[in-house]
């Protein structure tokens, strides 16, 4: 892929022609969510299984403010980013000192803490029924209720996020994070405060998740309980991995594939998570490395054929 930006711009323009605008918006929202995870998983080597903690918390808080206090869209986004970053700070603080299996289990267990809080706190979150009635208020004459306008808004924010993430991973910070991924002991020995950088990655990842969470709540007008459940955390890990973690565009491709896949499966059969589980297993067994790597392998294979 020589010109990923052209490809992404083209798909942003073409996508609403192929699928409903709501699905198209969901794809880019999920991609932002994936970008946040990828900074942790792909660039820092931390497999967080609790990303929906930040996504869901932001969706609930911002959705609640939108619903009862009628704050405007940008303020809601700011709140969401703040809540995402803050919850990531708390979770990250508890988790960054551990690594490996402990780390995964901790992120998951803390995810469950937030999930059960949302589940039980029915007066605010609506518990299992979710929190309906999240509005998309007008902003200086821009009517976000129009699905296409909202799609354009989401796409714009997505491009901004992608650009920002590109800057982050190419910055010295991004290099340090990758150094931690490659060899934590050495990064520590060179003098970097590893836990602090990990925490920073967490907070940034959480901010991206929070942004995605608010956009998600406004898109569907509801914060479902699933938005904070571990299934969502698993989905974003899956999307990032099928796209290819460690590459900037991996989660983007993964989200397109994942949302498209789950949408078409859920239309086919009510028990579609079963198919999703099968897809997980197949990917793990046969397609490790994700689409980006499979693509690269294909090109290497092709060019080697042409030479001979």
């Amino acid at each position: 892929m020589k010109h990923p930006w052209i490809l992404i711009l083209a798909s942003i323009l073409l996508l609403p022609l192929i699928v409903r605008p709501a699905i198209a918006s969901e794809i880019w929202i999920f991609a932002m969510f994936g970008l946040g995870l990828n900074l942790l998983l792909g660039y820092t080597g931390m497999l967080s299984f609790g990303q929906s903690t930040f996504f869901g918390s932001a969706a609930y808080v911002a959705g609640w403010l939108l619903k009862y206090y009628g704050i405007n869209v940008f303020f809601a986004l700011g709140i969401g980013i703040g809540v995402g970053a803050l919850s990531a700070l708390v979770v990250g603080y508890l988790c960054v000192q551990r690594s490996g299996l402990y780390f995964i289990m901790l992120t998951f267990a803390l995810n469950q803490l937030f999930y059960f809080t949302a589940y039980q706190w029915t007066s605010v979150t609506g518990g299992e029924d979710g929190m309906p009635g999240v509005p998309r208020p007008e902003f200086f004459g821009i009517d976000f209720k129009d699905p296409l306008v909202y799609y354009a808004f989401v796409s714009l924010l997505f491009l901004l996020s992608l650009f920002l993430m590109k800057k982050i991973v190419e910055s010295p910070l991004g290099t340090i994070l990758q150094a931690i991924r490659e060899n934590e002991v050495r990064a520590d020995a060179v003098g970097y405060a590893v836990p602090r950088f990990k925490l920073l990655a967490f907070v940034i990842g959480g901010a991206f998740s929070g942004l995605a969470g608010v956009l998600y709540a406004m898109l569907f007008g509801i914060v479902p309980l699933e938005a904070i459940s571990f299934v969502f955390s698993g989905n974003v890990v899956f999307a990032t991995l099928i796209g290819g973690s460690g590459s900037l565009y991996g989660p983007v491709i993964g989200s397109v594939l994942f949302i498209w896949l789950s949408e078409s499966m859920s239309n086919m059969w009510a028990r579609w998570p079963l198919l999703l589980g099968v897809a997980f297993v197949i990917v793990v067994m046969f397609l490790r490395g994700g689409v980006v790597e499979a693509w690269t392998r294909f090109w290497i294979w092709r060019s080697s054929k042409q030479r001979t």
Binding site: L47, F49, L110, R271, L274, A279, F280, M285, R288
Partner: protein, 270 residues
């Protein structure tokens, strides 16, 4: 006590196999559903209680042999995805086979009703579960501490390379450990069925608790898992007596609090 069983099984699996087993909760749920189905087949609670966990252990054996065995070289991310996918498959299969609506199940007639303990009135079946789970934990503990196979398994937690250098088939060890962990999850589920009833989501709820138990007890620390399991159970019961809504949240809150003070868990060394 059931938490201790779950934690012990998961601690074995994570400790020896070094994989995050997100299907552990699903195995627990399968154990509960197996019990009820086998009761239907044999018309006898006791036979079903023996057969159901064995069925889950066999399922665990197949899972390890067919899938997880190929993934030891892959990263945790793929192992996680695999077990997560398995959990989805298992819990959706439960809905397919037994229906999405939960059901309740009564303990056998012998264990219905309660006993007067002098200071409080306690349901017979719960007493039975406590004794049963206690015996199982003890049995597992004795197996791991006193027998040759147990020693091999504990050695596997400490140092896998050394164990295989000593001429022990490490693959066999992994399979056995996974099956044993699955067995413990299965019997915990089977014992739980008459208390909480059956629901397709019971596995997920239990999974979080099992992870907390392992995180608190220390990875691969079997005694730690037992103690942490009992502690968590008591903490939950105490909170439930005063503020029932918070009883699930408190488990995770306790974990967060402990980890703030002792990041390595209560008994963790690593």
């Amino acid at each position: 006590m059931l938490y201790a069983l779950m934690g012990l099984g998961l601690s074995l699996i994570t400790g020896i196999l070094n994989i995050p087993n997100f299907a552990h909760g699903a195995l627990f749920a399968v154990g509960a559903y197996f019990l009820v189905s086998f009761v239907g087949v044999f018309q006898n609670f006791w036979i079903a209680l023996i057969v159901a966990p064995l069925g889950v252990a066999f399922l665990g054996l197949v899972i390890e042999y067919a899938g997880i065995r190929r993934l030891y070289a892959a990263g945790h991310d793929y192992q996680l995805l695999f077990t997560f996918g398995l959990a989805l498959i298992l819990s959706e299969s439960i809905i397919l086979v037994w229906g999405p609506v939960g059901s309740s199940y009564l303990p056998p007639p012998l264990l219905r009703g309660g006993v007067d303990l002098g200071f409080t009135f306690y349901p017979k079946y719960r007493l039975f579960v406590m004794v049963m789970a206690g015996l199982l934990v003890l049995a597992t503990w004795l197996f791991l501490e006193k027998t040759r196979y147990g020693a091999i398994m504990r050695a596997g937690i400490e140092n896998k390379e050394m164990v295989s250098l000593l001429g022990i088939d490490i693959h066999w060890l992994f399979t056995a450990a996974f099956a044993l962990g699955a067995y413990l999850a299965g019997i915990a589920g089977a014992l739980m069925a008459p208390i909480r009833g059956l629901s397709p989501t019971m596995g997920v709820d239990m999974l979080g608790i099992a992870f907390v138990v392992v995180a608190l007890g220390g990875l691969g620390n079997l005694l730690g898992a037992i103690v942490a399991g009992v502690l968590i159970g008591i903490a939950q019961a105490l909170v439930a007596a005063y503020w029932i809504e918070a009883s699930t949240v408190v488990i995770f809150a306790v974990m967060a609090a402990v980890l703030l003070v002792r990041p390595q868990g209560l008994f963790g060394i690593r």
